[in-house]
Every structure is written in C-alpha cells, then in structure tokens.
C-alpha cells in the first residue's frame, strides 16, 4: 500500500478516535458543563457544537503551526492566549450572527476558554505534530464533542418537548423535566451509560484496544 494510503487511514483513525474511543463527553468526561447546559434543544446544541469544533480546529492549527517557535517554558500561557483569542473571535461572531441562540449559550461560548479538552489536545497533540494531523485531530475531537451534543440535545428536545429544532413531531404530553436542569443530568447519565454499554459491546473488541 502506498504511503499516502497509510496516511489516509491514520487520519481516519484520528477522527474515529475522537468520536469513539476518546469521546470528550462520553468517554473522557471532560467539558461536561455545556453538555447539559446548552442541550435542552437541538438548535442550541448545534451552535455550541459548531463553536467548539471551530475553536478546537483553529487552536490545533495555530499551535501546530507555531510549535517550533514557542519556548517550552512559556508554552502554557501562549496556549491560553491562543485559545482565548479564538474564543473571543467565535464569541463575537456568534453574537452577531445568531443573536437568539447567543442569548442562551453566550456564557458557555465564553467558557469554552476553560475547556480542559481543548488545552489538553493542544498540549498533547498539536504541539507535537505537524499541521495536517493536528487539524484532523481537531476535527475528530471536535466532531466527537459535536455528535455527543447533538445526541443529547436531540434526546432531550424530543422527549422533553416533543419537538425537533423547534418543530413539533410528537403529539403527546412530553416529559418536561428533560429540558430542565435535573432532567439534563438524567439524560446525560443515561446516555453515557448507554454509550458505555454499546462501546463495551461493539467497539472495544476486535482489534481496537481500550
């Protein structure tokens, strides 16, 4: 097989890794706050997810691009600066582009800056790899987070409101609790258990180690 083919596979592996094995929310249990806070409907979850994907990819890109110019001793402050810079940009863009969503999720967009997962990927991956794999890693991690948010917010909106993206689909009394704080915890807990169960059953075996 050609070298390019191998690289293709490893990029795919990076994305797969971010979505399944090291899924930020379900497996690593990082960045949990927005997973509950903004997932009471699909729309909020979607934009939050997009914001995280953008920040993760851009941070990985920036840091891997300048990794050879950063003195190791001051790397953490630089990382923080890069992250907060990108968060500020995304924050301002969101405020301008989707003000109704921003009203709900604004605080949490600002708090992306404190996401352990973003700093961790910058430190563990982007600062040690070249630009292309770092971007794919960013896409993988971001998408894993994005998918998790979509699953949770879909579940919560359907059961809690009987709607998808604000459009009613089920004509029954919904379980209002699911769009409220307590129900958010239940939803994430139950989905997490389901993900663990599925992961243990279908993905952990057959060559993919833990």
């Amino acid at each position: 097989m050609s070298a390019a083919g191998e690289e293709q596979i490893s990029y795919w592996e990076l994305i797969r890794n971010g979505i399944l094995k090291e899924n930020t929310i379900f497996r690593l249990a990082l960045s949990l706050c927005p997973a509950i806070a903004v997932t009471n409907n699909l729309k909020n979850g979607f934009f939050m997810g997009v914001a995280v994907v953008v920040v993760q990819v851009m941070v990985n890109l920036t840091i891997s691009a300048m990794r050879n110019f950063i003195h190791p001793r001051i790397r953490l402050p630089i990382f923080m600066l890069v992250i907060s810079g990108w968060v500020t940009i995304v924050n301002l863009v969101m405020d301008a582009a989707v003000p109704d969503v921003y009203k709900d999720v604004g605080l949490y967009i600002q708090l992306i800056v404190a996401f352990a997962s973003i700093l961790a990927r910058a430190e563990m991956f982007a600062s040690k790899n070249s630009v292309t794999p770092s971007v794919f890693d960013g896409i993988g991690m971001g998408t894993g987070f994005f998918i998790a948010l979509m699953i949770i917010s879909f579940f919560r909106e359907v059961v809690g409101k009987g709607q998808v993206w604000g459009i009613p689909i089920i004509d029954a009394k919904p379980l209002l609790i699911l769009i409220l704080p307590a129900g958010g915890f239940f939803a994430v807990g139950i989905l997490m258990a389901a993900f663990n169960w599925m992961y243990a059953k279908y993905f952990s075996s057959g060559g993919h180690s833990h």
């Binding site: 500020t88 600002q110 708090l111 800056v113 404190a114 307590a182 807990g189 139950i190």
Partner: protein, 195 residues
C-alpha cells in the same frame, strides 16, 4: 449598604441558582474531586477563597482599566489571565509562607486554573453590573453553593461505594443520575428569592 440584598444574593447564588445544579458549571471538578470527602472539603476551602479574590481582582481591573480604555471585548483574555496569574501567584506565595497549608490545599490549586466557575463568576458579575461588595457576596455565595454541592456529592458517593450499581452506570453515569436527583430536590428552592 443594603444587607438584605446581600443576604438574598448569597442565598440566591448558593441555593436557588446553585452553579452545579442549575447552571451546570464546574462539573469536571465537581465529578473529579467528589470521590472522597477529604478532597472535596479541601477543594471547597481553596475554591471559595480563590473565587472571591479573583472576582474582586477582576472587578477592579474591569472597572478601572478596561472600561476607561474601552477594551471590554477583551474580557475573556484578560479574565483568564487574571485567574491564571492569581493561581500561579498564590501557589508560589503559599509554598513560601505557609508550607503546611500548601501541602494540604496546594494540589487543588493546580486544578483550579482551568475551571469554568472561577471564570464564570467575574463574567456574570460584570454581566449583571454588580458593584464591588455585591461581587464579593456573589462570589462568596457561589463558592458556598459549590462547596455544599461537592460535600453532599462526596458523602453520597462514599455511601454508594458499598452499593451494587449496574455495570454500565458505574462511575460517572451514576454520578450524573445522583446530581440529577439532587438537582430535582433543590428545585424546591426555586422561587425562594426573586432578584
């Protein structure tokens, strides 16, 4: 100074709008350190202190530097800088001046710098246009609420060590379910104070 208002602010930020149970902030730390009672007590003390100091500092910087210079849009960068600097600084100071205390609480300091509650407090206090004293009260209440949540959670999780929880739910999923149940109980506080 209106003490009634301050008291309401403390009650509101600790019980009614508890960061963990209604705002979902600080969950990483919340789930991370509540496996043992001792750690969560240590974390509570450290956290509340750092929270109050950083909120006060951020308020001063915001009011007297950022507003006059018209650089409010750099809020996030500046605040995270303050928090990181404060944690780093207190780490050094504590190690030098109070090594005993550092040995007890120092390990928690490292965890704090990337925590969202610490950052959320100044962000919210700026957003809600609190004055200096109100900011302190708000930070204190938030810290108190977070401490309360951590201690309750730790006591329940220690008890749950002895229980036979179904396998997929072991660990974090169960912690989420418990938090949900506590949040459900804390719903009773809603409407207690309407600010």
């Amino acid at each position: 100074m209106d003490f009634g208002k301050l008291f309401e602010l403390v009650v509101s930020s600790s019980l009614v709008n508890n960061y963990v149970f209604t705002m979902f902030l600080g969950l990483c730390i919340f789930f991370g350190v509540t496996k043992k009672m001792e750690t969560s007590i240590g974390m509570s003390i450290t956290f509340t202190t750092v929270m109050m100091i950083s909120a006060a500092l951020s308020w001063i910087v915001y009011k007297f530097i950022m507003v006059p210079l018209n650089i409010e849009f750099l809020l996030i960068i500046v605040f995270i800088g303050i928090v990181a600097g404060l944690v780093q600084g207190s780490d050094t100071v504590m190690r030098k001046l109070a090594p005993d205390l550092y040995n007890k609480l120092g390990i928690y300091l490292a965890l704090i710098s990337t925590n969202c509650i610490i950052l959320a407090v100044p962000l919210q206090s700026v957003g809600n246009k609190y004055n200096f004293i109100e900011t302190i009260a708000f930070a204190f209440g938030s810290g108190l609420g977070f401490s309360l949540a951590m201690i309750i959670m730790a006591s329940i999780r220690e008890k749950l060590e002895l229980a036979d929880v179904p396998v997929p739910f072991r660990g974090l999923p169960m912690a989420f379910v418990i938090t949900g149940l506590i949040a459900l109980a804390f719903t009773g506080f809603s409407g207690l104070i309407t600010l």
